[in-house]
């Protein structure tokens, strides 16, 4: 499927351009993203992503909240993968306070974040299938995701906004019943990934719509600051879990899948392979779950970290989520900045959509897996 420019020129064949407004209220934009597209015939000559419809000013809100209250707000950025948001904030605050996290809490953080990565990639797999026109995988993906959400509900009572990872540790312990249910899920889930491959990944129609579409070169991916599966789909093996391990990731055995060409399909397939790696990580973490405390000693209810600045970043489901935290010694963060991977991943659209056909816009947009709650914060 070639998407070359096919503008016929000649006397009497001059074309007017047309402006097409995609979104902000359109299911295929995955939230409230507006894309202003200028078309010459079927070919896009200018793309203008317009964001901010979901801007809630969480960075400002946090300047007047205590640190424990801020954890609640972090859930609201990437609401499909709230555990990693909790973790990034807590890591930054713990760095400022120099709090050592107990080993059991570290392992539980790994379990929860990797389960959340599976749940988040399942949303992507299901909705991307719908974007392309395959409705069936959505039902399968959400069936499995529901099981993860049930595990979370049993753990902390919430299905989406967990507030589970707290300053200095985690909020609740897992019991033997929970771990056996989790292992049961993993055993159920492993063959399902092969099922997705037959259902969607190697489906000829799906391949034709995505394999040669939305190519992002290695250099462009680094230049535009892409991260997560979008960067790895272009063949750059960069994963924060490997480059700057946190929560003891250096002790786990897992691979970082990379794509070959940086096409929509490469980005998609990176996520599918990452689900397998996440299963491995959860299995390893459950197998060697240490005993002991859940919360570090000496973290007050209203912490006042010493004045200073810290930066902590984690490999969230959608990329490199960084928190820059400044404390002036008060009860609220003096300044907090979120390096939101979705926000930075989205910026490349204005370049790579140009020259594509309008039919490919949804395939390209969907392959970047954005969550507007994080784009706008």
């Amino acid at each position: 499927m070639s998407t070359d420019e096919m503008i016929v020129t000649g006397p009497g064949l001059e074309m007017d351009t047309m402006f097409v407004n995609l979104g902000p209220q359109h299911p295929s934009t995955h939230g409230v993203l507006r894309l202003g597209l200028t078309l010459a015939g079927e070919v896009i000559t200018k793309a203008f992503p317009d964001i901010g419809y979901l801007h809630r000013g969480t960075e400002k809100l946090m300047e007047a909240r205590s640190y424990a209250q801020c954890v609640v707000l972090t859930d609201r950025w990437d609401y499909c993968s709230a555990m990693t948001n909790n973790l990034a904030f807590c890591l930054a605050a713990e760095k400022l306070m120099a709090v050592p996290v107990p080993p059991r809490a570290q392992a539980l953080r790994v379990v929860m974040c990797e389960l959340n990565r599976i749940a988040s990639h399942l949303i992507f797999l299901g909705t991307y299938g719908i974007d392309i026109g395959a409705f069936t995988p959505f039902l399968y993906a959400f069936r499995e995701r529901e099981m993860i959400l049930d595990l979370y509900e049993a753990l902390c009572g919430a299905r989406l906004t967990y507030n589970y990872i707290r300053l200095g540790g985690v909020a609740a312990d897992v019991d033997a019943d929970w771990t056996s249910k989790c292992r049961e899920f993993l055993e159920f889930f492993k063959p399902r990934i092969d099922e997705y491959d037959t259902l969607l990944s190697f489906n000829p129609i799906f391949l034709a719509r995505t394999k040669e579409v939305g190519l992002v070169s290695k250099e462009a991916a680094v230049d535009w600051g892409l991260s997560g599966p979008n960067l790895r789909g272009s063949g750059v093996s960069y994963d924060v879990r490997k480059s700057e391990p946190y929560c003891g990731y250096e002790a786990y055995d897992f691979n970082v899948p990379v794509g070959a060409h940086g096409s929509c399909w490469d980005r998609y397939f990176c996520r599918v392979q990452e689900m397998r790696q996440s299963v491995r990580l959860v299995e390893q973490a459950l197998a060697k779950l240490p005993t002991g405390e859940l919360m570090a000693k000496g973290v007050p209810k209203i912490p006042k970290p010493p004045a200073g600045e810290a930066y902590a970043h984690v490999e969230a489901s959608r990329g490199d989520l960084g928190i820059y935290l400044v404390s002036d010694g008060g009860v609220a963060p003096y300044r907090l900045h979120v390096r939101a991977p979705c926000f930075i991943n989205l910026a490349i659209l204005q370049e790579i959509l140009v020259g594509k056909k309008v039919a490919d816009v949804i395939a390209v947009l969907g392959s970047f897996d954005i969550v507007l709650g994080e784009v706008d914060r």
């Binding site: 964001i51 901010g52 801007h55 000013g57 960075e59 400002k60 809100l61 300047e63 007047a64 909240r65 205590s66 760095k95 400022l96 462009a220 680094v222 230049d223 535009w224 600051g225 750059v236 960069y238 480059s243 700057e244 209203i302 010493p306 004045a307 200073g308 600045e309 810290a310 930066y311 490199d320 960084g322 820059y324 400044v326 404390s327 002036d328 010694g329 008060g330 009860v331 609220a332 003096y334 300044r335 900045h337 390096r339 926000f343 930075i344 989205l346 910026a347 490349i348 370049e351 706008d376 914060r377």
Partner: protein, 192 residues
């Protein structure tokens, strides 16, 4: 051997007035630039010779003082058992080592993905004349992040091809992340 020490030394040698920051970002090498004119040479050196091809973050801090509570939409606490409205916890006194001053402190983070290195650059500009050169010519990733800093802090990035608001609505006046920002009532504040 600490590979980042070499980077800091190269930066300090190439940009004469730069200094190693007195208050660094914890655990990362941080270099403070003296003037906006130093930014482009430092970024060119980082990208061209030292291999920092990944612009990770552009942001700023307003060091004016405690955040003004007028910048928030504060409604009384409707809980009848609570005696007074819950007041946001903002401390008026800075901790040791912090001095409030009317500057915007910009921060850039550059990464070297192959070598797993990271370096922070910082630069103070006065709040009323906040203007620095744009890095869009060197890093495409600067495009939206500079627009964000422009929108929320009012920092002008000279040379940016498309410096317009990105997150806040068009009718909103002011720059919300400045500490003295005061919320202006708009049609969405009225309860219907």
């Amino acid at each position: 051997m600490n590979p980042s020490a070499d980077v800091v030394a190269r930066l300090l040698a190439a940009v004469p007035k730069a200094t190693a920051a007195a208050a660094p970002v914890k655990d990362y090498p941080t270099v403070r630039l003296a003037a906006p004119a130093d930014l482009l040479p430092a970024a060119r050196l980082l990208k061209g010779e030292l291999g920092f091809t990944y612009l990770e973050m552009v942001t700023a801090v307003d060091w004016l003082g405690p955040v003004s509570l007028g910048g928030f939409v504060c409604r009384g606490n409707p809980n009848p058992l609570s005696r007074k409205p819950a007041a946001p916890p903002v401390s008026p006194v800075p901790g040791p080592g912090i001095s409030y001053r009317p500057v915007l402190d910009l921060l850039w983070s550059f990464g070297d993905l192959g070598e797993n290195r990271k370096v922070f650059l910082r630069l103070e500009v006065p709040r009323d004349r906040a203007e620095v050169p744009s890095l869009t010519g060197l890093f495409s990733a600067a495009d939206w992040q500079e627009r964000e800093a422009f929108d929320l802090f009012g920092i002008r990035f000279s040379g940016h091809p498309n410096l317009i608001k990105i997150l806040t609505p068009d009718f909103l006046k002011g720059h919300p992340l400045r500490k003295d920002y005061i919320h202006q009532e708009d049609e969405y504040d009225v309860d219907r």
